[in-house]
């Protein structure tokens, strides 16, 4: 199995948590690809829907956003690794997420009582959300979990696991991250 980690940090902060994440995924025998989005040229989505109706399944913008979408389409597990930003994800992570809509179908379906999109690929990846905060913050954590779960519904992920770690509590990383990986593999 392979896991693609989308590193949405704007700088090198959070590398200890990333190392612990690599360990946890490695222990579960994942092949791990980490994409440091801050090093990638990914233009903002222009909202043209060309990826659905002009070049179905591929964004019309030819940049590294396409490479990220390709990696995610082939992943067994996607990991959001991001500073929790206003309870959500960072702009660096979001620039990639806005460009992966070619990986879902334009056609609508009723999912859990709401309108969402149909799958493009038969087996969409499971989703792990790993948020990082300087210190524990329950409100931000709850909001981040809700956002990742919403995303999982839209991506049609079969399994989802979300956690937030606090940088001032590195002693907790190992247990939390192993728990996350276990939740999408059991």
């Amino acid at each position: 199995m392979n896991a693609v980690v989308l590193d949405g940090f704007l700088d090198e902060t959070g590398q200890d948590a990333l190392a612990a994440l690599r360990d946890a995924l490695g222990s579960a025998r994942f092949e791990v690809e980490v994409i440091a989005l801050r090093t990638k040229t990914i233009a903002p989505c222009v909202g043209c829907f060309g990826c659905w109706v002009k070049t179905p399944g591929e964004c019309v913008i030819d940049d590294e956003g396409r490479d990220v979408a390709r990696s995610l389409a082939r992943a067994d597990v996607i990991v959001y690794f991001t500073p929790v930003t206003f309870g959500g994800v960072s702009s660096e992570l979001k620039k990639a997420l806005d460009r992966i809509i070619p990986n879902i179908s334009p056609f609508f379906a009723k999912v859990q009582g709401e309108t969402h999109h149909q799958k493009r690929y038969a087996q969409p990846p499971s989703l792990i959300g790993l948020g990082v905060l300087p210190t524990p913050d329950r409100e931000a954590e709850a909001l981040f979990k809700t956002l990742v779960e919403d995303n999982a519904t839209n991506l049609r992920s079969p399994r989802t696991a979300v956690a937030v770690v606090a940088l001032d509590r590195p002693d907790t990383f190992k247990e939390i991250l192993h728990g996350l990986v276990e939740a999408v593999t059991r």
Binding site: P44, A73, S105
Partner: protein, 208 residues
């Protein structure tokens, strides 16, 4: 008494003139202008493209009493350039004390409830930068046109002009969700047919 200033931040890639977000935000801003507020419009995507654009935008934020962010829902949240702009605002600390903040958000699904997480993120942002949260007008795909929307905007403008929270105004849907899905699916097929791609709409270019 100093004239209150309202700043419209349009967070759609399609800009101020050519987007639903720009049109809806403009409708609210016009209503605020009629109530005596001085107004200004900014396109967020344009602002974050250059350091000069960013500086101008942060300056506008620094002088406004009321910020109205109008945008489409993107993957349950805001478009990336909007998040980048909000990160800049938070880092710069340039806004007025007790500045006020409201949101106009519309999603491409018939259920306006799908905007709730993004609204919570906006509220959290306001709290982190010390702005007063005045609420949101949330619209689904079916609700962007029609009389009840106009009523919601008029009542929102009336409240915001006085510095009060956006009141809840029920916005009527005009089509059941199942019919929206059916019509939407046909629309995608029709557009693709024009592009000569109808037979490839379910293509899997990244399959192993």
């Amino acid at each position: 008494m100093t004239q209150r200033q309202a700043l419209l931040l349009v967070g759609s890639p399609r800009g101020i003139e050519n987007s639903t977000s720009g049109r809806l935000g403009g409708q609210l801003l016009d209503a605020l202008e009629r109530r005596g507020l001085k107004t200004q419009r900014l396109h967020v995507h344009e602002a974050v493209r250059s350091s000069q654009g960013l500086e101008t935008a942060l300056c506008a934020v620094g002088t406004a009493d009321l910020m109205v962010l109008s945008l489409p829902l993107y993957v349950d949240s805001f478009p990336a350039p909007v998040i980048a702009f909000l990160e800049h605002v938070a880092r710069s600390g340039t806004s007025r004390e007790r500045a006020q903040f409201a949101l106009i958000i519309q999603c491409g699904f018939p259920e306006k409830e799908q905007n709730e997480t993004a609204i919570a993120i906006a509220r959290r942002f306001a709290s982190e930068v010390g702005w007063t949260w005045l609420g949101a007008i949330a619209l689904g795909a079916l609700e962007t046109y029609g009389g009840s929307v106009n009523d919601a905007f008029d009542r929102a403008a009336e409240a915001l002009a006085k510095g009060e929270p956006v009141p809840y105004v029920p916005v009527r849907t005009t089509m059941p969700a199942w019919l929206y899905r059916l019509g939407g699916n046909f629309m995608w097929w029709r557009v693709a047919k024009k592009n000569g791609t109808a037979g490839r709409l379910r293509a899997k270019p990244y399959a192993d």
